[in-house]
């Protein structure tokens, strides 16, 4: 039987403007937390993959892994570790998870039980908002989409959604209210407070129809998960969860090349692959951490992951979330079959924060904590299966992973 991969430890710094900590300190903090969680030591790790979009532009530093080796592993002469940075814009974290997952499987194929760390980080707030926005624009087609900020690219998606459906702008605003509600219960969130629907609705239109409170902010942060085989996890006596699969797929970097911009083909394909390989489907999923860099992105994600029919999710938003200010967290979506789906219990990119390279890993941290029943006030009772969905740019890369209780 094919060996399975387990998450045996997780770490997650707070997200926000962490001006007193450098990127490598954030990586160390998240990494040590994961090691402690798993009950193992630094030198037990054989490899690490660090998702990061743009340390070169944000911090002027390249050769990331060696820097980590110096600062975190203190250049330990006993160590045989090999690390590398992985880049795929905002899906860098997801790609690091995918690489780590496959590295553990490759080891298992040779009857090795490798322990691999998948990390992700971004240190964005050293730059002005203007500089940070320019750097993030590098995730779009720099030659062809001059003047298209990310809020504008997602604004175009939302505009098209409004054009093709009967959804209203206000439907989308409920999503931000829900995300903030969840973040208010997450001590690591950048924006741990609630907002009203009116406040979202009346927020500044940064790239109409995208408003400020439909958008994720700029943040620093790091997250880490430790992966190994289920066999090893059992041996270590770890409180582990199983990763069924992690799949990543590319699509065109620019929206203009896509026939129907309202379908993120990369998400659909990646989801199809994890559902196929695991024998599970959207109907089995209890919790989802989806890439809600903008409210429209959450809607498209829920459709592309198969929870709602295409261009129909909007019908359930208001119905599910309109009273979320009054309800207890976490607040679920009602699915067409009447089931409940809890989405972005962490607060999502919107409210937990979106240090871009960390996001894909932070999603796996939240799902792991939920499946272990350690999510505190935002715990979803009885969660068995969770999905993560991490997008680069406006869909040029998507990484989907499926996790479940052992």
């Amino acid at each position: 039987m094919k060996e399975k991969v387990a998450v045996i430890g997780v770490g997650h710094t707070e997200f926000g403007e962490l001006w007193d900590r450098s990127w490598v300190e954030l990586v160390e903090e998240a990494g040590l937390e994961a090691l402690e969680d798993a009950g193992i030591k630094k030198n037990d790790i054989e490899k690490f993959f660090l998702g990061n979009m743009s340390l070169g532009m944000f911090g002027g530093q390249e050769h990331t892994a060696s820097k980590v080796f110096s600062e975190v592993f203190d250049s330990n002469p006993e160590s045989q570790i090999l690390g590398r940075r992985i880049e795929g814009a905002c899906s860098s974290g997801g790609l690091a998870l995918e690489a780590s997952f496959n590295d553990v499987l490759a080891g298992a194929h040779h009857d090795e039980d490798r322990i691999v760390m998948a990390g992700g980080f971004e240190k964005m707030t050293d730059k002005s908002t203007d500089e940070a926005t320019k750097i993030l624009s590098a995730a779009s087609d720099m030659g062809k989409e001059v003047g298209f900020t990310f809020p504008a690219l997602y604004g175009m998606l939302k505009d098209r959604y409004l054009e093709e459906t009967e959804a209203t702008e206000e439907d989308f605003d409920h999503i931000a209210v829900k995300s903030h509600k969840h973040a208010s219960k997450n001590p690591r969130a950048q924006y741990p407070f609630e907002v009203s629907h009116d406040k979202v609705k009346n927020s500044f239109p940064v790239a109409s129809p995208t408003k400020l409170l439909n958008s994720s902010g700029i943040a620093d942060g790091a997250a880490a998960v430790l992966l190994t085989t289920v066999r090893k996890a059992e041996e270590l006596g770890a409180d582990y969860v199983v990763i069924e699969d992690v799949e990543g797929v590319n699509d065109s970097i620019a929206l203009y090349e896509r026939e129907d911009i309202l379908t993120l083909v990369s998400t659909q394909k990646a989801a199809e692959r994890v559902y196929d390989s695991s024998g599970l489907g959207p109907e089995d999923v209890d919790i989802a951490e989806v890439h809600d860099c903008f409210s429209i992105a959450e809607v498209l994600a829920l459709e592309d992951l198969g929870f709602y029919p295409k261009k129909k999710a909007w019908k359930w938003i208001e119905k599910s979330l309109k009273d979320c200010s009054e309800n207890e967290a976490p607040v679920p979506y009602e699915l067409p079959d009447g089931r409940e789906l809890f989405v972005n219990t962490s607060g999502g990119l919107k409210a937990k924060g979106h240090p871009v390279g960390a996001t894909g890993i932070a999603q796996a941290v939240e799902i792991t904590e939920q499946l272990r029943g350690e999510a505190g006030e935002r715990q979803v009772d009885g969660a068995e299966v969770g999905i993560t969905h991490n997008v680069g740019g406006s869909g040029g890369t998507a990484v989907v992973s499926l996790l479940r209780k052992p």
Partner: protein, 488 residues
């Protein structure tokens, strides 16, 4: 993010809506690529002009942008994907509006995307499609006439306008009834020149590679070093001689003379003479009420001209009536703001020389076009020379757009071409400070009728005498910002 010269060159096709077409399978690409995705190395890719019309598929209004290309100074602006007419294809681009315009028909027009390291990146932008008045085709006929003359013409005038009352309010002056044009946020004298050249070449099938010389006359060339003409040439697909002229407001007519002489000498087949200006005026100067924006392009040649240049005469002297020092932002008047020793003296001398040479009298002409620094001078000099209101009025453009410096007389000439009948005769005299005048004796040919039928938009529509509802009258603040009078 500073751009570089190689990047400038590599993005030209994209910015000028030139795609690639695979000769093997016919697939069309927006990007400048070398291999067809279906045919691989077997596909032969060649350049193809992409449609300049389309429908907005999705759009967003940017209200917070970055300092990349100083786009943060352009907010709010719209971006969108445009489904190109006749192609299963969407092009990303800036849309010159501040609304979401999904579903609307748009047309491409050249604009200034931004400046990087002093270098101006022009690109096609999208504008909402409008219905315009076209010229009324004339009737009548005349004897065929051979010679070097104007083969085609095109103009461009921005749609922004400001009233003198609005300017006077700021400066504590009471000036009534004047209107002038000024640039939109994506425009400069380079983009005007490019658009007027495109509008000129749209109604003929002259191969641009046959245009041996492109000349742009301006007082406000975008570059102190690097010809505006080179930017126009690359856009239209000509790669021979390019030169910029400066002779205050007569640089445009100097370009016509140069083109005429070169065609006559047989060294080129066609010459493109352009006058284009975003006229500068010191904010407190009286010129602030009149210094306007616009461009006109005249294709000069000897094959099927719509008008023959029968003769020209010039008169020049060293008269520093109005000057701008090297690297100075605004021109200054040297002495009283009067035309006597400058405007009137030079125009009258050149005009009289020409009439003497041609043995003509004012009554031999149907139109009398003079440089128009203000509403009064052209009418006054015309009368002093013996021309009548009937000859002068159809040539006036200043009333709607102000003094467009080098573009003024070429624009007036284009306005005449919109209304002239075969056989009619035009008398033209320009004036440029410094000082000189060029006078022309021009006869309209039978070909004018065809041209008038082909023109989609009349000069009267461009200047705002017609289609007034399409003009955008703005506040002094907007004017000052777009004109570069506010420093950021």
């Amino acid at each position: 993010m500073e751009r570089t010269a190689p990047e400038y060159r590599r993005t030209l096709d994209l910015r000028y809506l030139k795609g690639k077409e695979c000769k093997n399978c016919g697939k069309i690409y927006l990007s400048s690529r070398n291999f067809c995705s279906d045919c691989g190395r077997e596909g032969q890719l060649s350049k193809t002009d992409l449609p300049k019309r389309g429908k907005v598929y999705s759009s967003s209004v940017v209200r917070k942008s970055t300092s990349d290309f100083n786009l943060d100074e352009k907010i709010p602006y719209s971006v969108g994907l445009v489904s190109l007419e006749g192609l299963d294809f969407k092009a990303p681009g800036i849309i010159d509006t501040d609304e979401r315009v999904t579903g609307e028909e748009v047309e491409a027009e050249i604009g200034l995307l931004g400046i990087s390291n002093e270098v101006r990146f022009y690109t096609y932008l999208w504008k909402k499609k409008r219905d315009y008045h076209s010229p009324q085709p004339s009737e009548g006929s005349c004897e065929p006439k051979q010679g070097v003359g104007i083969v085609d013409y095109g103009v461009y005038v921005p749609r922004k306008r400001i009233k003198s009352e609005e300017i006077g309010e700021v400066w504590g002056e009471d000036v009534e009834g004047l209107v002038k044009s000024f640039p939109g946020k994506w425009e400069d004298p380079g983009s005007y020149a490019m658009n007027s050249a495109l509008n000129c070449l749209e109604t003929n099938d002259v191969d641009p590679s046959n245009i041996g010389k492109i000349m742009v006359g301006s007082e406000s060339h975008p570059y102190a070093v690097k010809p505006t003409a080179s930017v126009v040439a690359e856009l239209i697909g000509s790669d021979e001689q390019c030169v910029d002229f400066e002779f205050a407001c007569k640089a445009g007519t100097q370009a016509i003379i140069d083109a005429h002489d070169s065609v006559k000498a047989g060294t080129i087949n066609y010459g493109l003479a352009i006058g284009s200006d975003s006229s500068q005026a010191r904010p407190g100067d009286a010129l602030k009420y009149t210094a306007g924006d616009g461009s006109a392009a005249l294709l000069v040649g000897s094959k099927d001209p719509i008008a023959i240049i029968n003769a020209y005469e010039s008169f020049t002297s060293d008269t520093p009536d109005f000057v701008r020092g090297e690297a100075e932002e605004f021109p200054v008047h040297f002495g009283r703001f009067t035309g006597e020793p400058a405007y009137f003296k030079h125009i009258e001398e050149a005009a009289e020389r020409l009439m003497k040479k041609q043995g003509t009298e004012p009554e031999d002409y149907d139109y009398a076009l003079f440089h128009q620094p203000n509403r009064k001078f052209p009418r006054k000099v015309g009368k002093r020379l013996g021309f009548t209101e009937e000859q002068i009025e159809p040539t006036i453009v200043v009333d709607w757009i102000g003094n467009t410096y080098s573009a003024c007389v070429p624009l007036g000439l284009c306005r005449i071409f919109d209304q002239a009948s075969p056989g009619e005769r035009i008398f033209v005299t320009s004036y440029g400070s410094g000082a000189g005048s060029d006078a022309f004796d021009i006869t309209v040919t039978e070909k004018i009728k065809e041209k008038q039928k082909e023109k989609k938009r009349s000069v009267d529509s461009w200047i705002g005498k017609e289609d007034e509802e399409l003009l955008e009258f703005e506040s002094y603040g907007k004017y000052a910002k777009n004109k570069g009078l506010l420093k950021s």
